[in-house]
Amino acid sequence: MRREVPLVLTAIVGLTMIISHFIPPLNMLKDLFEDWFFIIAAFAIYLGILNLIRINADKVYKKRSDWPFGVVVILGFLLITIPGLFFSGGRSFSDLGTPFYYLYDHVYYPLSATMFALLAFFVASASYRAFRARNVEATMLLVAAFILMLGRVPIGDMITAWLPEGYRMGNAADWIMDFPQTAGQRAIMIGIALGVVSSALRVILGLERAMGGE
């Protein structure tokens, strides 16, 4: 029973979601199941929080390696949770001027932006490795990237101004984006769509062992 009940539930919900895509009156069931998912996920967040606190408290208590990071996690959690719950002065925690909003605006937001900004450096280092002309494919990638990067800035058109209109760097970059890139991306998208159908059927039919199947 422990195995069968989840499989039957998965099959019922999965089939309902598929059928409701084609039968409009069943849309309400689809909406209902989606609401249930969000409710369960909302409850489950407490499991995550408890796990986070328990693991880090245990690490600090037992002075395991890197235990100071555990202290930072717990303090960070309390620092953002307590003002949000108790020091909003009767206003919503996300209102302008509340301590929570202050922390969001002056701590969380800059930290997130910093992480995101790191991407620029990682793009540079990854591109450097990817664009080394080790074989035919990598050389093609290098040439395409070279044209594309130059074609996206004014100097690309400037240095190819002697060519007829339509054959300059900007046009070549547009051509790469419009044809080879779009064709490749669409091929991947078709494969993904078929993969999703096949994978979903395996889960619904209870064939996926990792998802409770036989």
């Binding site: 489950a44 986070l52 990682f122 993969g195």
Partner: protein
């Protein structure tokens, strides 16, 4: 000419010109002029392919819409249950609009609609529409092609699964990224370092997360067999619960339930960049031998892949996010591209039933290829030879 212009300028600048408009008994006079021409050809129809409850109203714009001083400032939509009854205002539309959707109707009840054009000089109503009622549609015909294609692909998958069950050998092409899973786990065992499995940043309602978790089952089983150390830091609570079950069962199936503990799978944060920062820290401190990035990723993909690369981890990534695939290809040792992510569990398990589903998927790909080729052929013939096959070309 110059004199008349001068007179106009003087008049415009005179105190008389700056006065308020003339009033009668203190009330400002309305601008005078004929009302705008009414909208015409008002048509009300049931919204197609839905569960009812919506009627769409279309009309032809007033002749004064967008013209001169009597320019229409908007349209008012009026509704009544009787043709000659009292019409109630139900909503407005901007000038130039020719469409309104009434979502406050009961199924199988007849309604009549009028559209009123409004301008600064007044308003004028159209003739009423013919009666319209909304109805439940039991099939969404706008999705018929999708339904047929899905049905064909699903039938093909069922067919090949049944064939595989019957013992037929199916050829599946070699996927380098999946062949490397054993090597990656073995490497971690030899080096005595950890394996990190990252199942993406989305929840269990994402098919990519589910695909990632199925791969985790295989990796966990190998880790249990090789006695390698596995860690699964996750960004969603439901994913944590599911991954725990999967890892636990994998260790049980490998005959090593003693090696499993709940702390192998732990929650970090739901926040995208908070999660990326925590993982970067883990990678740098633990220097894992192998990192699996399998699931749905966004901008954090390259941050994670490059950091793991910098500490010398072997990386096997897989995602169905086309925008993140180039990052993984550039930064990881192996990448499962799109459909390969979904094929992974079947490929790794070598279970004939699962492999049968991959074969069905291949047939689907063949059908798509055929449809694309025929579509290209029709459109090329249309443009080159002038062969008039517009409808067929449109279908494709």
């Amino acid at each position: 000419m110059a004199i008349s212009a001068l007179i106009i300028l003087i008049l415009a600048a005179s105190p008389l010109a700056a006065q308020e408009p003339p009033t009668t008994e203190g009330v400002a006079l309305e601008p005078q002029g004929p009302p705008p021409a009414p909208p015409t050809n008002v048509v009300a129809k049931d919204n197609p392919n839905d569960k009812g409850g919506i009627i769409n109203i279309t009309w032809e714009r007033s002749a004064d819409d967008g013209v001169g001083a009597n320019d229409v400032t908007g349209y008012e939509i009026l509704k009544s249950k009787e043709k000659d009854g009292v019409y109630e205002y139900i909503g407005g539309a901007a000038p130039g609009a020719t469409f309104f959707s009434d979502s406050n109707v009961r199924n199988k009840v007849n309604y009549f609609y009028k559209v009123r054009a409004v301008s600064p000089f007044g308003s004028s109503e159209s003739l009423p529409s013919v009666a319209a009622s909304s109805r439940v549609q039991w099939f969404n015909f706008s999705r018929l092609t999708l339904f047929l294609l899905s049905a064909i692909i699903a039938l093909a998958i069922f067919y090949f699964i049944s064939k595989a069950k019957g013992g037929r050998q199916l050829y599946i092409r070699r996927i380098a990224g999946l062949e490397a899973v054993d090597d990656a786990v073995g490497r971690a065992t030899e080096m005595g370092r950890k394996i990190f499995f990252i199942p993406g940043i989305m929840d269990m309602d994402s098919m990519q997360t589910i695909a990632g978790v199925t791969i985790l089952g295989r990796v966990a089983r190998l880790a249990a067999e090789y006695e390698a150390k596995l860690e699964v830091p996750v960004s969603r609570s439901l994913v944590m619960v599911t991954c725990r079950e999967v890892v636990k069962e994998a260790y049980l199936n490998a005959g090593r339930p003693d090696a499993y503990n709940d702390n192998m799978v732990y929650y970090l944060t739901d926040d995208q960049f908070g999660y990326a920062a925590a993982l970067d820290g883990l990678f740098l401190r633990e220097r894992p031998a192998a990192v699996f990035l399998q699931g749905q990723f966004y901008a954090e993909s390259l941050i994670l892949a490059e950091t793991a690369n910098s500490v010398g981890s072997i990386q096997i990534a897989g995602t169905a996010m086309p925008s993140q695939l180039p990052f993984f290809v550039a930064a990881c040792d192996y990448t499962l591209i799109g459909e390969e992510l979904f094929a992974a569990s079947a490929y790794l398990s070598k279970d004939p039933k699962l492999l049968g589903s991959l074969k069905g998927q291949d047939l689907g790909k063949f059908i798509f290829l055929l449809v694309i080729l025929v579509g290209v052929l029709f459109i090329t013939l249309n443009s080159l030879v002038g062969l008039n096959l517009p409808n067929l070309a449109k279908i494709f």
